[in-house]
């Protein structure tokens, strides 16, 4: 790595990462003081979150998955998971749920150490994962607050039907919005929603631009490990806010600069020197050993050019944008379109597209023990993708926030042999081309 590149990396890291860090920190602060300041708090999940709508009612917004993953990155989730298991939860079930419940049992301190408030409303967008429904019931059991449940049907045949959309719209209009009005005491203003949606669409444009910048060689971003940071604001409490729009403008500019300078992705150790392997990755990351895990890639010159996890809170790269002209319908389409609400064949098609469009050398599946929504069927997906693209596929197994299921030596070994296989295949391909 050149010194110039390292300096550049530090500068870039400061600009975008600090902005995001400040946003997240401010939100945890706002949550910790919300009730003192007379504000109401909502709690909702990432996929299908209705952030623009919640903002219309001035809720301070809490997202349990973000707490779980932040706790994992701060090495706290292991204790929370064990706490939940001690109180009767099975070792077999989703560790996000257990981390959240364990955190509540241990005094409800957020990842930054500040207290998390009891929510005033629990909003479940039941999108793309059955476990959310159980998680929601379990959390509801602990609180005495209002609840709103939005059932989002599954896109089993790869399309959104009128019946699906109408069903979601009806629930929004007749149940979700009136509940949010009642809890917040704020009257619903559709123009305010339109305004938020307009901001969302701007940020979505920039996010897509950033994600698609990975089509460049070298890719200026890592679309999995880095991509997760880039998606942070838009997947969580900020989509629809002016801060999020500003964040994505800044990020886009940084990435554009990197392209201009021919630089690779910024990693925790600076800019990646040489891009040797381009990968498409399916599945969520491991959060408990996030940095070690990432290092196993960049040390080998492997960069992720596209990933499905960065679509879990919304699929934008096929053209969907929040549409201020159809404010309620667009919320329905957004919820219906999140990645895990797509059928397996649609997921396979999407990943094969990525393999081609992003010129990937291989397809890697990180299978997550916790997550049936992602994991069930992945072995067949892997074979399909390998067959259709002719590119080598690799399979590793980890977990989201349960550190007991991340075996560094094992994952590293598997990755190293997989990368070797890709390099050999590339070399054979290159020599054939040369001949």
């Amino acid at each position: 790595m050149t010194t110039a590149a390292s300096q550049q990396a530090d500068v870039q890291k400061e600009e975008s990462m600090l902005l995001q860090k400040a946003m997240i920190g401010a939100n945890f602060d706002a949550l910790s003081t919300a009730h003192e300041e007379g504000k109401k708090v909502s709690s909702t999940f990432v996929p299908g979150n209705l952030n623009e709508l919640l903002m219309c009612f001035d809720f301070v917004r809490n997202l349990p998955e973000i707490n779980a993953l932040q706790s994992a990155m701060r090495k706290k989730s292991g204790g929370y998971v064990m706490e939940a298991e001690r109180s009767g939860h099975s070792e077999d079930v989703c560790s996000y749920v257990k981390s959240d419940l364990g955190m509540m049992a241990k005094g409800q301190l957020g990842p930054t150490g500040k207290p998390l408030p009891t929510p005033d409303v629990l909003l479940l967008s039941y999108t793309g994962c059955f476990t959310f429904m159980k998680w929601f019931e379990l959390v509801r059991d602990q609180y005495d607050c209002e609840t709103a449940m939005l059932h989002v049907p599954y896109q089993a045949d790869g399309k959104i039907t009128d019946n699906m959309r109408d069903f979601v719209v009806m629930q929004l209009k007749e149940q979700v919005i009136p509940t949010l009005e009642r809890v917040s005491g704020v009257k619903f203003d559709i123009d305010r929603l339109r305004e938020n949606l307009r901001e969302s669409a701007k940020a979505e444009d920039d996010l897509v631009w950033v994600l698609q910048s990975a089509k460049n060689r070298p890719s200026p971003i890592d679309a999995y490990f880095g991509g997760i940071y880039y998606c942070g604001p838009i997947f969580s409490a900020f989509r629809g806010s002016k801060e999020a729009t500003a964040y994505y403008v800044a990020l886009r500019k940084e990435v554009a600069d990197r392209i201009e300078q021919g630089l690779g992705p910024v990693t925790p150790e600076g800019v990646m020197d040489e891009e040797r392997i381009r990968l498409v990755v399916e599945g969520p990351p491991n959060w408990t050993h996030f940095r070690d895990f990432w290092k196993m890639f960049y040390d080998e010159g492997a960069v992720v050019v596209a990933s499905s996890y960065t679509k879990v809170g919304g699929v934008y790269d096929y053209g969907f944008r929040h549409d201020p002209d159809n404010p309620i319908e667009t919320l329905a389409d957004y919820c219906l379109g999140c990645y895990t609400n797509h059928s397996l064949p649609a997921r396979v098609d999407m990943l094969c597209d990525y393999m081609e469009e992003y010129n990937a050398d291989g397809f890697l599946n990180n299978s997550i023990k916790s997550c049936n929504s992602f994991s069930a069927g992945q072995l067949l997906m892997l074979r399909e993708i390998e067959e259709r693209t002719g590119k080598p596929a690799g399979f590793i197994e980890t977990d989201l926030v349960d550190p007991r299921y991340f075996s560094p030596a094992n994952v590293k070994n598997r990755l190293e042999s997989y990368f070797q296989m890709i390099e050999q295949k590339k070399a054979r391909g290159d020599s054939r081309t040369a001949a």
Binding site: G88, S90, C94, F130, H151, D166, P345
Partner: protein
């Protein structure tokens, strides 16, 4: 028919992983079609009204050697999808013209996609039911889904399915529900007369036989069971919960009874007991089926409970109704719905002073001794408790 013959017939059906009875039904008439469905619930009335045979596909149990299926699933996913894939890959499901995957959980949901990728020549349908139980919202959605399902079935059948066809099927399934309710009431009143492994086999037979034949079989069983006298044991009375999807090995049910427990209610084959009352025969039959689901359907871990105070109520009610003294939770390993629900159900039981015990199983669990011991200890503690 004598009791042993009925039980033997059910046992033969249960053990026949080649679906011989289904193949025979299909060959007995021209252009007959069969639709398979996974647990928990599909409206079998519509399949029947299309002139087709609905067949419950419940995995391979402990009799099937899973050779290919394990290559499709990671070790941390339950057993039923891998043995179901095994059944399909080994050609045993070739007799099916379609397959339905109800919105039970993410595993079954994703299995529908695996079928789409692997068996494209069949009717494959993910069957979404609403988790919103307002007639004007969830009811409207579900009525339209049912209409879409009716259209897909008529395309496959090559003819319209009339309202009268559906009414006639509703009638037959109402009768089936009624006789099953009688069976359950009889078991709950005199559990020594109606051993649960036999109830299980009878219910499994209903996943394969045409509905009228099954109704008759259950009638015959009740009559035959009443005609014999079986010894009354000093067993405690339990409800068993968690068996709504992946199937327990038959030996597990036998172990529970041998350990000193009479099972007086269960959640086997809920498709047959999902609608809690008769579905009305007059009026729009699609609307009636939809309304039955929305307003008087059963409950299990796959269904959302809109009000916190109602969580677990169905299980407490089941205990009260059947005069049970405790609950045994038998949950499939790696089953998110059952295992995430269990602590909430346990809380509801605890609030009513109802004792419970819990263990996990897999459809191919071979080691039943620990389960038998646990059930035995539970039975003893209940007896001690009631004696105190």
């Amino acid at each position: 028919m004598a009791l042993e013959n009925i039980v033997e017939r059910c046992q033969d059906l249960y053990e026949d992983l080649d679906f011989t009875s289904v193949r025979a039904w299909k060959e007995a008439g021209a252009n007959r079609k069969v639709i398979g469905h996974m647990p928990v619930y599909v409206p079998r009335e519509l399949i029947h009204a299309a002139g087709m045979l609905p067949v419950g596909i419940l995995g391979g149990g402990d009799q099937l050697d899973v050779i290919h299926g394990d290559a499709y699933y990671q070790s941390y996913i339950c057993r039923i999808p891998r043995s179901t894939i095994e059944l399909a890959i080994t050609g045993r499901l070739d007799c099916l013209d379609g397959m339905l995957f109800p919105s039970t959980c993410d595993v079954i949901r994703n299995l529908s996609g695996m079928w789409q990728l692997k068996f494209q020549d069949k009717l494959i349908r993910y069957f979404d039911v609403p988790q919103n139980f307002h007639r004007d919202i969830g009811g409207v959605f579900y009525t339209r889904e049912l209409q879409g399902f009716r259209d897909a079935l008529s395309d496959l059948a090559g003819h319209e399915i009339s309202d009268d066809d559906i009414r006639a099927s509703i009638d037959l399934y109402n009768k089936n529900r009624q006789v099953i309710a009688e069976l359950y009431a009889y078991r709950s009143a005199e559990p020594w007369q109606v051993p649960t492994p036999e109830v299980y086999l009878l219910m499994r037979a209903g996943m394969l036989l045409p509905v009228d034949e099954h109704t008759q079989l259950v009638h015959d069983y009740i009559a035959a069971a009443k005609a014999v006298e079986r010894p009354v044991r000093d067993n405690c009375r339990v409800v068993i919960n968690g068996l709504f999807c992946e199937q327990p090995p038959l030996g597990l049910l036998k172990s529970i009874e041998m350990a000193g427990c009479y099972v007086v209610d269960d959640d086997f084959m809920l498709v047959a007991r999902w609608l809690l009352h008769e579905v009305p025969m007059d009026g729009d039959p699609i609307h009636n089926l939809s309304d039955a689901f929305i307003t008087y359907s059963s409950e299990t871990s796959c269904k959302y409970v809109p009000n916190k105070k109602d969580k677990g109520k169905y299980l407490v009610d089941s205990v009260r109704r059947s005069g049970a003294e405790g609950v045994i939770f038998a949950s499939p390993s790696f089953c998110d719905p059952a295992l995430l629900d269990r602590p909430m159900l346990q809380n509801a039981l605890a609030a009513h002073g109802i004792p419970y015990t819990a263990f996990k199983f897999a459809e191919n669990s071979g080691q039943l001794q620990p389960i038998r011991e646990q059930a035995g200890t539970f039975a003893d503690s209940i007896k001690l408790w009631s004696a105190a």
